[in-house]
């Protein structure tokens, strides 16, 4: 059994590595995107000052609108105020430069990041607008550049396409060409064939992703607050969920056109709704619910939490559990539906 599995694994690896055009595109595409977007977003294009205003959860729940409060500072039309209830989370946002200043009108405290230029301007405006001097609290931390936020999305998107098309499309092509029928005439079992396809794609996509990450990191120095090992494990689990999804799509189809349509049908919602290019935070609850049902969303959320917030295993465990569950469900469905020949 192991001999057959290894033979199929080696053959698939050779086929992929010798397909220079496909291999080149798998490497070039994410690199071009990372550097292209880094160049486009290298300046800070945020037009507004952003201030978080601390309030209690009860007050936040009572609010019917999100308008500013009574403090004169809070009336400034050129500042974007966001009411928050979790003080630690809000302080974390100031540390990461997601917010330029945190103000608590109740206790008359404010937090600024020592390295934030906008924070210092806002401090002057706040002091000028206050009748009593609010107490200053300082935090420190480097800003999260847009490219730091986008980079997991770009690599995740590349993994998604490579996993889904690299397994789904290939299995359909094998079925259409009759190669699966030929394998079926040997003692090969479906589980051996499928396991070889999964492991081959997992090894190759992880090798490529790690190489692209290291290569681009040398030039752009991405923010990495957490553990590289945890990020690697998360990426592996995400890749497994996406590969398994590809197996479900390709379980019976023998038309490449239909397979292409089905694969686009599952990839495009993830492109839009899985936090690849923008966060779904604050979107309509239905859209957020759909987003949560997609594996790429959990890969994105977990990897950003590790890289940008330094999240540990406990913090991203819910995402990992969802990815593992999806992997098991998709693998089960894909194996159950799998046919050597088309219907």
């Amino acid at each position: 059994m192991m001999r057959r599995f290894l033979a199929l694994l080696q053959a698939r690896n050779m086929e992929f590595l010798r397909d220079k055009s496909s291999l080149g595109w798998n490497v070039a595409f994410p690199i071009l995107l990372v550097f292209g977007l880094a160049a486009i977003f290298s300046g800070d294009s945020r037009p507004m000052f952003r201030v978080s205003v601390l309030t209690t959860p009860a007050e936040l729940a009572k609010k019917t609108d999100s308008g500013p409060g009574e403090h004169r500072f809070l009336q400034d039309p050129f500042i974007q105020f966001t009411e928050v209830s979790d003080q630690q989370l809000a302080i974390g946002d100031v540390r990461l430069h997601k917010s330029d200043l945190l103000f608590d009108p109740t206790s008359n405290h404010y937090w600024i990041n020592l390295s934030s230029e906008k924070g210092h301007h806002l401090e002057a405006i706040l002091l000028g607008a206050s009748s009593t001097s609010p107490q200053r609290l300082e935090v420190s931390g480097d800003p999260v550049r847009l490219i730091d936020w986008l980079m997991p999305g770009i690599l995740g998107m590349n993994m998604m396409f490579s996993c889904l098309f690299g397994v789904g499309y290939i299995v359909v092509r094998y079925r259409k060409s009759g190669f699966l029928k030929r394998l079926n005439a040997t003692p090969t079992r479906a589980v051996e064939f499928l396991a070889a396809q999964i492991l081959s794609r997992l090894l190759l996509i992880m090798a490529l992703t790690v190489a692209v990450f290291i290569g681009t990191n040398l030039f752009l120095g991405f923010r990495m607050e957490g553990s590289y090992w945890l990020l690697f494990v998360t990426a592996c689990l995400g890749a497994m969920a996406l590969i398994s999804m590809g197996l479900v799509v390709s379980a019976r189809v023998s038309s490449e056109e239909l397979a292409g349509g089905l694969l686009n049908f599952v990839t495009w919602p993830m492109m839009v709704l899985s936090d690849v290019w923008f966060s779904m935070e604050g979107s309509h609850p239905v859209m957020v619910a759909i987003s949560k049902a997609l594996p790429l969303t959990h890969l994105m959320q977990a990897s950003r939490a590790i890289m940008l917030d330094g999240a540990g295993l406990a913090e991203i465990m819910p995402n990992l559990i969802v990815l593992a569950t999806m992997t098991l469900v998709f693998l089960g469905l894909g194996s159950w539906w799998f046919r050597w020949q088309g219907d």
Binding site: Q10, A11, M14, D19, G178, P187
Partner: protein, 297 residues
Amino acid sequence: MSTLNILEISQLIKQYPDTTAVAGINFNVPEGSCFGLLGPNGAGKTTTIELLEGLIKPTSGSILYRGKPLGDDFRQQAGIQFQSTALQDFLTVRESLELFHQLYDHRLPLQQVIEMCDLGELLDRDNRKLSGGQRQRLLLAIALVNDPQVLFLDEPTTGLDPQARRNFWELIQRIKDDNKTILLTTHYMEEAAVLCDQLIIMDSGKIIAEGTPDDLLNSHFEDVIVELPSDLLPESLPTELQQQVLHRNDLIEFASNDVNQLIVSLQSMQVPLQQLRIRSRTLEDLFLQLTGKELRA
């Protein structure tokens, strides 16, 4: 050839929603024989061979391999060459052979297979860059890597030029000499006549004739064919000659039980006989007589 049957097929039926591809056939394949399945397109021979290969399930009926239903033993001991098989892209001939070689428990030394199928000079060639004949030799080699007890060949020479076809026949003959059982489907009657010890002729999913090639011909024909160019004879022939005409286009064919009498009749009409040819009945004649259809690819 042994008297034991390696495959026993009884009441085999394969029904699809809109057609019955195989309609209750029975036959046995003796061990060590080359067994031919003949028939025109749509006769059901590819469906039959795929049922025997275990690739599709019958609607009803049974297929026994060495007295048991098809199972893991059969998968290990069968060699199969489809009409056309795609291999993995970007692999060489050697790598394609090695891949399939690893899939079996009992294997011939790869070098022996390579020599048997004359692939030595092609080993490092991308399998997508082989000619038709070279590709068929590779596919046959893949079917032989497990030293099969029974070898299925589904129209293995379709599309090959006459030279490549004859080379392939020599190869099959060598495999036959090793006492392997071969199941062969073909459109070429000459191929069946050269290679097959026994054959069945199928039409519309049924067996319409079976036996050795000689037995089949002897049981259906007592005459021989006499051929002459048509333009050597008048349009209107005497009744006793007209009754013997089988075909008339560029050639006129007489089916005759008494060649001497026929020649005397032709001489009496002062027909020149320099281009006269006499041939025995062939399997193609038999098929035409049984079905009225031509055996074409």
